[in-house]
Subunit: 308 residues, 3 copies
């Protein structure tokens, strides 16, 4: 029996490096499997999604994953309107969707929502993003992408650039990477640094350093993970205009980077990576999206099939 | 050939006790069937839904049912926006969706809408709620739940509490129960009693009595069916606050009930059943939701397969 | 290998008569195939849709087509809200959906959008309506309907009535018909005539003539293709009221038509065809919708299967 069977995936912090590697091995198997075998793995199974924050992209990635396994998806794309407005509690919405499906995928603005949902649900719950820190499947697909595109994770220099303060993607990625021997370079304006109250555990293997300008460390990076800086985070438009250039990846920046470095992005991208970068061999963000489908398929397979 | 094949399900009043029992028998077969057999029953079939009143829960229940049979679903989740706004008639919307699917599931605010739709549709129509009285699949799943959880329907004392005036669920349930030897206890504030113009047929076997307070009859009930009382039904917030307590089921009320009594609710629930009730053996509303999926699957199977 | 395999379908102008006939032959095969064989053709394949202009009908037709082949569908029903509002470019949205699916179906308000999408997509793109002129699958299904219902296309008199200026359906139909020996009769108020800058190629076989009143040519028509005249196109309500009668098909108009003539409409219809016409043998618009599902299924089959 695989250890994921019938278990909820609530936090990346619940998964040690061993569990991450188990998901990656399952992903390798899923990806290389003939489609006609893959689509038997969850035939007749149903994924039920409940999204209190609409996120078409994450939802479609899960739907595509389930579809590739022969299963189907249904649910609340906008639960804040469809359920919460009628006064229904999160618990009741989750209990009901778990009566209609084999696995529940939940996106919710509050910390702890997924753990609570896992307690009341009759089916395993996958956290598709909650609160300030948690987006475990995004972290899984990010690290899987690094591993596939660079051949390994240990020993790499990984830059994370942009708005590091907001956005659960960055925190989940850091938690996920903390079990690897990596050097993480955190690049952001001072006002958008990682929240200080944030702790990555005392036993972490990952090393971290902080920069104010991407140019300072770009030349050392094996992986550059770019995140969006939202204009709304700045009170003053001019202040934004001033810093913006320091965190944008264009052809100029690429020339300062190692020829085998890769650029990643959780998407959607606005203007933090110039379109000219897309056609260079550095760009891997669309591959990342495709890997994401397979990582999520592997996870669904592990949760739903005892002998996966 | 089964008598449901290719027939529309427009009103619970069209179905006598024999037909109800036939659906229940099919439901028993569906529920106990191995999933790999069940998902062949409607493989490659398509359910088309048209909801003029959005109702995510009922729609998802039908989708889950179709999915469990190996079929798929598509349609208008909000037809009042997507079709009616463009000036398209109900007839044209139904005719078109029936060109795209094998069975049409319709929710519409007007009485008679489903019967009209069944006339113009090239495929059988299932009424998923219409007008003031009709919600036949809800009545089917309610009575199926009673039967499974109490072992029988005849001879039971069934309380229905809350807003009995509005809400098609109550009327459909009463029509459905009218062929059984049951004692129905109707509990509501005077202003929310069953509409007097409402007739259940002169040959009904069901007996009915009326109460103003749940406490008066709680001790006799085998089944307590709780419905929502909407604040908006009261002109005066204080009047609402006054009566509210008489129709809420909490642990206090449970102590006055028989130990083997069960609590049902069509969901969504707001505050008419206290959350503490959920973990008692009386609570059956989430089981009811799960039965609903199977009852609808059985009905789809009967409509779509001649030899079901 | 079939010539459609892995190719995008961007414009009806890219498809000569030979290609149209190839789609029609595939449609004949799809329609007459036992459902259990048909639903194997795209089993486990996924259609990804991106609709910047919501069009439930076209989307459902594609979903129904994919479903009949055993595949599934996912995507952005309202991409203008879900992606564009976040500032994501068309290119990125298309690239991402192509990572999640095997074929991309795009509806977009701008001319050229589909060709651009086909360039950036890793999967074939089908144009489901773009800009002022292009709706290639609508033209395919329209001409297929004519062929099936009249037994041929060459030699027919085909009237197109209504608002010919706006609406991509008319332009695509004309492009599609231009390779056939047909007489097209264009009937519209002067202000809603085909745009003069519009050119159908110098080698076209189709002949065209223009009328201001349907009564002038109704008696000669084999096929009458009716389109909607939108009130909003007229500055003056009275002007609209005056002309409206000349373009509406009712029983009076039918009496002036040949007994074997057929009436088509791309739907949704508002009041340009009277409901009394629906039950006459002339009416074919709901058959047209059903053919549409099969034509789109044939196209999906051709694009996705090398040996189709």
């Amino acid at each position: 029996m695989n250890p994921f069977h019938n278990q909820s995936v609530v936090s990346i912090r619940d998964l040690g490096r061993d569990r991450l590697e188990a998901v990656f091995e399952a992903t390798d198997r899923i990806r290389t499997m003939p489609p006609e075998r893959r689509r038997e793995l969850c035939r007749g199974r149903t994924l039920g999604y409940v999204f209190y924050e609409p996120s078409t992209r994450t939802r479609l990635s899960f739907e595509a994953a389930m579809s590739s396994l022969g299963g189907s998806s249904l649910g609340h794309a906008d639960a804040a309107s469809s359920s919460a407005k009628k006064g229904e509690s999160l618990a009741d919405t989750v209990r009901t969707i778990s009566a209609y499906s084999d696995v529940v995928v939940l996106r919710h603005p509050l910390d702890g929502s997924s753990r609570f949902a896992a307690e009341v649900s009759s089916k395993p719950v996958i956290n598709a993003g909650s609160g300030t820190e948690e987006h475990p499947t995004q972290a899984l697909l990010d690290i899987y992408t690094i591993k596939k595109e660079k051949g390994r994770v240990d020993g790499l220099n990984i830059g994370i650039v942009g708005d590091l303060k907001h956005g659960r993607t960055v925190y989940s990625l850091l938690y996920g990477l903390s079990g690897y021997d990596v050097n993480v370079h955190l690049v952001s304006p001072p006002s958008l640094r990682i929240r200080p109250e944030f702790a990555y555990g005392t036993k972490r293997r990952m090393k971290m350093s902080t920069y104010g300008d991407l140019g300072e460390c770009a030349g050392e990076m094996d992986v550059l993970y770019v995140t969006r800086i939202q204009r709304e985070r700045f009170a003053d438009a001019e202040e934004y205009a001033k810093v913006r250039g320091s965190y944008v990846v264009g052809l100029d920046m690429l020339r300062r980077m190692r020829p085998d470095s890769i650029i990643m992005h959780p998407l959607p991208r606005v203007d933090e990576i110039a379109p000219e970068v897309d056609s260079t061999p550095h760009a891997r963000y669309f591959e990342q999206a495709e890997y994401g489908k397979h990582v999520r398929a592997a996870l669904l397979h592990l949760l739903l099939n005892k002998d996966a």
